[in-house]
């Protein structure tokens, strides 16, 4: 589904990814863990197509097609979704309006007609309810004045609405208390399916108690330095990243 081969990328003169390889198959949940500065967020931005980064080498294939030349919106409609670590505020634009614009953009790309308002409302209501998102919150401008938990729930709601094939969750646990974390995790788990894959980027193990990964990778200094099962995350939690960082440096 998602294949990353020997990916090198830099911002300005600084090389951040130094030959990253990763293969994600349909239905799998991968966790990418690593110390601060390992390149975790960079990876998510590069996959989504943010233009501050320059890919100098390597390939990224989504369902067998290279996506590196696609605009971010083209990647989105191709099925790639990024749940932001810090969701962006858009003053004056009601969340509902934003959702409608996004969903219609996806439908248009697939050659489908826009949804009627009642049909759209029904879909939003279904996904919003599962994430405890009130209709009052849907009227508020996108992410403006949302609490940390509300922002993350809203991200998962967008994900549920757009039905992507590959979901990248960038530090979705940051800024969440344990109750909010559970709601978000349940939202994600509800979306797990044999034809959808997840890449969960996190610094801490605690998110992985709730979203249990199939495969765990350790990212350090721009490369995957270790891959294992869920037990790898527990080991990291106990012993820290020091051993792996040393490996990478060696």
């Amino acid at each position: 589904m998602l294949e990353i081969k020997n990916l090198h990328a830099k911002i300005g003169d600084r090389e951040i990814l130094k030959g990253l390889d990763l293969t994600v198959r349909p239905g799998e949940v991968h966790a990418i863990m690593g110390p601060n500065g390992a390149g975790k967020s960079t990876l998510s931005y590069i996959l989504a197509g943010k233009d501050d980064y320059e890919v100098t080498e390597g390939e990224v294939l989504l369902n067998g097609e290279s996506i590196l030349d696609l605009e971010p919106n083209e990647r989105s409609v191709a099925g790639l979704f990024l749940a932001f670590q810090y969701p962006i505020e858009i003053p004056g634009v009601a969340t509902m309006t934003f959702l409608k614009a996004a969903l219609n953009a996806h439908r248009k790309a697939r050659g489908e007609a826009e949804l009627t308002t009642p049909e759209f409302m029904k879909r939003v209501k279904t996904v919003a309810e599962k994430l405890n998102i009130s209709s009052e919150m849907l009227k508020r401008p996108v992410n403006v004045g949302f609490s940390g938990g509300e922002k993350k729930r809203a991200e998962i709601m967008q994900m549920a609405l757009l039905q992507p094939s590959i979901c990248i969750l960038d530090e979705t646990d940051s800024g969440l208390d344990i109750d909010a974390l559970k709601v978000v995790a349940e939202g994600v788990n509800a979306l797990r399916s044999p034809d959808r894959a997840f890449v969960v980027i996190t610094h801490y193990q605690r998110l992985l108690d709730h979203i249990v990964p199939d495969i765990v990778h350790v990212l350090s200094d721009g490369r995957i330095v270790r891959t294992g099962g869920p037990e790898l995350a527990l080991d990291l939690e106990k012993n820290g990243y020091a051993a792996y960082v040393a490996d990478a440096a060696a």
Partner: protein
């Protein structure tokens, strides 16, 4: 990708095709000879069959105008206008003054249909059955009003809505009493010119205690080349009356500049309220700044009575040059003035617009919300005056000016003037300037929105407070218009 990267090339490639109202109607016109002199003023007055007092009034203005100089203080730059190289009167030949719809040239009806303005009452009423509210329209084509709808229905409520040239004949006492009472013929270069040569425009009178039963609107179209449009609008809300009025404007895409110098006067007596909205979409010129309408407009409302209220809402997307300051004179005690503005400039457009709030009465309040959006190589200036007179104790003003820049070749300027002669006045001014952030763009794109849709969405969010002031019927259209105006603003 290039989110909000500076994309001058793209902006420069905005082509005329994007202005969808740029077509020319092939309608034979009767034109006054080019140039301006006393004979032309008399010619216009005679064409309209005007009484002697009005001819004299025009001539007085003309003589005054000859002694005046074009103002140069605005932040706009344009080649000198040759006022002798213009036609001051142009009228579609077959329509001499407003008649019933059956007599209107079908080519004219087609023109308005193409512009999305239905003029046939039965078509409008068909819309009503589908849940739309009816809007009475006065359609002004070059120098004459071609038709006014729903006059009979309005007359039942005592509301007069007709071309001003007709009102001069049918309600001379009202016209004579109020014309020039807010914007005197000596007011300024363009207003004085307008007083001398004004052609048509709308006249509205809402009698005491009447709430006008429908939205009134005038649709201005400049068609003929090398003409100036000088319309004159006069709206009077008598004691306790209420009226909401909307004007729309478009013009064909022509290489030469067209001149539009209008005067609008509003008078609100005790407890009356006038809500005046404008959606101005004159042809803005091409990407190199060739052609486009020069829009020099004087709009002023007079809250002449106690508790009177006047509210201006404007959406300015067109014109090569906009020079326009809809103002309120808050004469009556407790009167209130409001100004809500969205000014979008793209390409080489130049906007210098704002408002004046003149507080004269006690406990008068005013509110100014201005949203300027500059893209391309345009220049967008907010210029505003809040003045509090000696007797205006308890006056309050709140001003908020926000500017949004798209790209780095455009400019936004805010020039507020505040004068207070009364120590009890409270005047507040807030201003912000921002750019659409790369992060906002990236976020929208990541959700699948194409770049131009993302910009339109963010800009619509930015102007939301003002959009909400527009009559419902026009809000959706305006949102779309904002999207179209910003096409090609980033690449």
């Amino acid at each position: 990708m290039a989110a909000v990267k500076e994309t001058v090339d793209q902006v420069l490639s905005i082509d005329v095709d994007k202005y969808k109202y740029g077509f020319v109607s092939d309608i034979e016109s009767e034109l006054a000879p080019k140039g301006l002199n006393e004979d032309i003023v008399r010619f216009i007055s005679a064409k309209k069959d005007e009484p002697e007092w009005l001819t004299e009034w025009r001539l007085e203005a003309y003589r005054r105008w000859q002694t005046m100089e074009e103002p140069t203080w605005a932040r706009v730059d344009y080649p000198p206008i040759d006022f002798q190289d213009l036609h001051y009167y142009a009228a579609p030949k077959k329509t001499q003054g407003p008649k019933s719809l059956d007599e209107v040239d079908p080519a004219l009806l087609d023109t308005y249909k193409k512009l999305g303005i239905p003029l046939k009452e039965q078509e409008i009423l068909a819309g009503v059955e589908q849940g739309q509210r009816p809007v009475a329209v006065d359609a002004v084509f070059d120098s004459v009003s071609v038709v006014t709808t729903f006059k009979a229905e309005l007359a039942k409520h005592g509301v007069i809505f007709c071309p001003i040239s007709e009102a001069v004949r049918t309600h001379p006492e009202l016209v004579r009493k109020y014309l020039g009472s807010v914007v005197p013929i000596t007011d300024n270069f363009y207003a004085t010119l307008n007083s001398a040569v004004f052609s048509d425009g709308s006249f509205v009178y809402v009698p005491k205690g009447v709430r006008c039963p429908m939205e009134l609107s005038t649709y201005f179209r400049i068609n003929e080349k090398k003409t100036g449009q000088f319309e004159r609008t006069l709206i009077i809300a008598d004691e306790g009356a209420y009226v909401s009025y909307l004007e729309g404007c478009t013009a064909p895409s022509r290489d030469e500049n067209q001149l539009h110098a209008a005067v609008v006067e509003l008078i609100a007596l005790d407890d009356a309220e006038i809500k005046y909205s404008t959606v101005q979409n004159w042809y803005p010129g091409d990407s190199e700044g060739t052609g486009g309408v020069f829009n020099f407009v004087t709009k002023r409302g007079d809250c002449r009575g106690r508790n009177a209220k006047i509210s201006w809402t404007q959406v300015e997307t067109g014109s090569a040059i906009t020079w326009k300051y809809p103002s309120c004179i808050l004469r009556g005690d407790n009167s209130r003035g409001e100004f809500y503005s969205i000014a979008i400039s793209n390409g080489r457009q130049q906007v210098d617009s704002g408002t004046k709030m003149i507080h004269l009465g006690k406990n008068t309040t005013s509110k100014i919300i201005s949203k300027g959006i500059s893209a391309g190589r345009s220049s967008n200036t907010y210029r505003g005056l809040v003045s509090v007179g000696r007797k205006a104790s308890g006056a309050r003003n709140f001003t908020n000016c926000d500017s949004l820049l798209i790209g780095n070749k455009c400019g936004a300027h805010t020039v507020p003037y505040i004068e207070s002669k009364n120590a009890s006045a409270i005047v507040e001014h807030e201003a912000t300037t921002s750019k659409i952030s790369d992060d906002q763009m990236f976020y929208c794109l990541q959700r699948g929105l194409p770049q131009e849709e993302a910009i339109a969405l963010i800009v619509n969010g930015f102007v939301k407070d003002v959009l909400q002031q527009l009559p419902m019927e026009f809000m959706v259209e305006t949102q779309k218009l904002i999207g179209i105006s910003l096409e090609g603003s980033v690449g």
